[in-house]
Amino acid sequence: MLANTKNAPAVENSPAQNKEAVNKKNVYKVEQLNLWYGKDQALINVNMDIPENEVTAIIGPSGCGKSTFIKTLNRMTEMIPIVKTNGSIYYRNENIFNKKYQVEYLRTKVGMVFQKPNPFPKSIYENVVYGPKIHGIKDKKVLDEVVEKSLKGAALWDEVKDRLKENAMGLSGGQQQRLCIARCLAIEPDVILMDEPTSALDPISTLKIEELVQDLKKDYSIVIVTHNMQQAGRISDKTAFFLNGEVIEYDDTATIFSSPQDKRTEDYISGRFG
């Protein structure tokens, strides 16, 4: 079965976080996270709780550390040799920086969708089953089920069900991005990280992805980096504003977009700098 497993105990909330979080489970708890690329510090004392089954948007000008931040959530930044980090990131109560922590496990639980759709040059079907096959699933019937469920989850099934054997490169940009989301869903993640997933898409495809994100949050916790302020306002429950590696403000999206507390947040979201 492809049911999502979320049986980790609740993470205790820090009082500094918002009031709603008291009744909400968090998938992540980030504490005093610092990150350097060589001598350049890209993240400074980041503290953030990321709630379960919500969409958390990360906004901020180019170079503020938002992409770096979400890449640390599944330890992708450590693939860059000059990166150095300290602090803690608890995913479901376990510090992912622990030496014994299995990064492979983390990456099956935390899927990622990138800015540019990056399907494999294989059939639509093969793209979706790639992950499950690596995880040892060989039964054709199970794989067929995974394909249908994942493509349905990514709102792509109706458009491609009759041409699953065709090459994924023949799909439109928006369809390719939804295929990447389906590929991500196929490994039954708990969290989906999205790094500007619509910046290469036209407005209609963008809206489709946005609607999809709203549907997906019922079953997954989503963290999305976006340059599009309206998009953050439309689809997220919480928004974090990053500037020069620091979290300037993190609150309910409604608060950030109606009465932000920090002038820098206000200036950024109203387009006065960045």
């Binding site: 302020m229 109606s258 009465s259 947040t265 979201i269 109203s270 387009g271 700098f273």
Partner: protein
């Protein structure tokens, strides 16, 4: 010019237009008071027909604010400024309507001499005029202290109104009941105008800090 210089200019033009609409409304209210004292029929008709220009200004402000929301998608203070522009222009338009209602009630008094003292009514109206002027200045200068002071003035108007109505009932008889009724209406309109001035003050507070305060 900053990144959103054009938009900032549009916002500030919107605020200027509201201020100037407010001045026109205060003028209409003062004219209604003047006509209550010096009942000039011709001028009363002129005043009533002039209300259409105030209504038109409100609609223009609404159209522009709507367009700004659609095209600029404002957030935070910009959004509140735009929303408050819509609310304040509507409240000012209602004050204009109430000034017209005062003139219409004055018309219904015909040429009769006042058998009932209108001094209290005038003194109440003076406070209401002050409240409107204070609200407009507070709006222009984003002056929260001034906005909050308006609530105190409203209490004064409410007391004067209650006192006036009491006096009307005690001093009216079957000979002047028609006049007393119209004056009671006028008193009520002035009291409502003061309430609208308080509404303006509440919107100014909201525009500045995003929180609603009931000053009434």
């Amino acid at each position: 010019m900053g990144v959103r210089g054009m938009y900032d200019q549009e916002l500030s033009r919107l605020k200027d237009d509201i201020f100037s609409m407010g001045e026109a409304v205060v003028e209409a209210f003062q004219e209604a008071l003047h006509l209550l004292k010096h009942r000039d029929k011709e001028k009363m008709n002129e005043m009533v027909s002039r209300d259409a220009t105030i209504n038109k200004r409100e609609l223009e402000i609404h159209d522009r604010a709507t367009l700004m929301i659609a095209r600029q998608q404002p957030v935070a203070t910009d959004l509140r400024t735009t929303i408050v522009a819509l609310k304040i222009s509507s409240d000012l338009e209602r004050v204009g309507d109430l000034a017209v209602d005062m003139v219409k009630a004055t018309m219904r008094l015909n040429e009769e001499d006042y058998q009932i003292e209108i001094h209290e009514l005038e003194s109440m109206a003076d406070v209401a005029v002050k409240m409107l002027n204070e609200a407009l200045t507070a709006y222009q200068k984003q002056d929260l202290m001034r906005a909050q002071h308006i609530a105190l003035l409203d209490d004064k108007v409410d007391k004067k109104y209650a006192q006036y109505i009491k006096e009307l009932f005690t001093s009216s008889d079957k000979n002047n009941i028609g006049q007393a009724t119209q004056l009671a209406f006028i008193g009520r309109y002035i009291e409502r105008i003061a309430d609208y001035a308080t509404n303006l003050a509440e919107w100014i507070v909201y525009e500045r800090n995003g929180k609603h305060f009931d000053l009434n």
